[in-house]
């Protein structure tokens, strides 16, 4: 498995994706027009795709990072354990992403 590079790649994506988070906070502090611009972007097709990708990058990096905590503590170095942790992180990252978006639509969709 070559997922360690995915951990790094999602980290890089999150690094630049943080600009979106900063833009959103600054817009909220600036006023209604600036905030409406952010909402227009995040509500557009490309905006939703970017935010969805950002969510996956965050959830994958989180789960993959928990895998690193396990290794840092000295566990999970057997071949089968490494495979299980890696696949677990991949599946959990995708599952959490879908789950967060379902909750987000269920809660925020009606507002």
């Amino acid at each position: 498995m070559a997922l360690s590079i995915v951990h790094r790649a999602t980290g890089l994506a999150l690094y630049f994706g943080t600009l979106l988070l900063a833009w959103w906070l600054i817009a909220a502090a600036t006023g209604p027009t600036a905030y409406a611009n952010v909402q227009a972007f995040t509500g557009s097709a490309i905006g939703r795709l970017i935010v969805f990708g950002y969510t996956w990058a965050l959830m994958h990096h989180l789960c993959s990072g928990i895998r690193h905590f396990v290794w840092d503590l000295g566990y999970g170095f057997k071949a089968t354990e490494r495979e299980a942790l890696t696949w677990g992180a991949l599946v959990a990252g995708i599952t959490l992403t879908v789950l967060v978006w379902i909750i987000a639509y269920a809660v925020g969709g009606g507002r």
Binding site: L12, L25, A28, A29, G65, D72, R111
Partner: protein
Amino acid sequence: MSGPSSMRTPLERVRGLGSAHTGTSDFWRQRLTAVAMTLLIVPVIVVVIMLIGRNHAGAAQILGSIPIAIILLLFIVASTWHMKIGMQVVIEDYIHNEKLKIASVMANNFFCVAVALASIYAILKLSSGV
């Protein structure tokens, strides 16, 4: 000095090593901020979901509330610090030209500090309600 008869612990032997004499501090802070974000991720996602579909007035009111502002401030500090360390590792791994490496490490520091301060300023402004 660090042979089998040494009384020093492995941690003590690596403390203060490296060209900046900061030893394993980046390694430690990378883990520290990672654990912090693992603890903060659920409240942060809850806050973001609370804001979906709200107009500016509603969002500004939620972002300015004290517990939410504190959660976001903690997350911003942890994430920008984590970002800075992570990107520096990537730079040191892939950029071998010394001048370009130093410039990249500097740019990385500037970027992370700018993102952190801009976000912190925005939250404090929302909290003060001005």
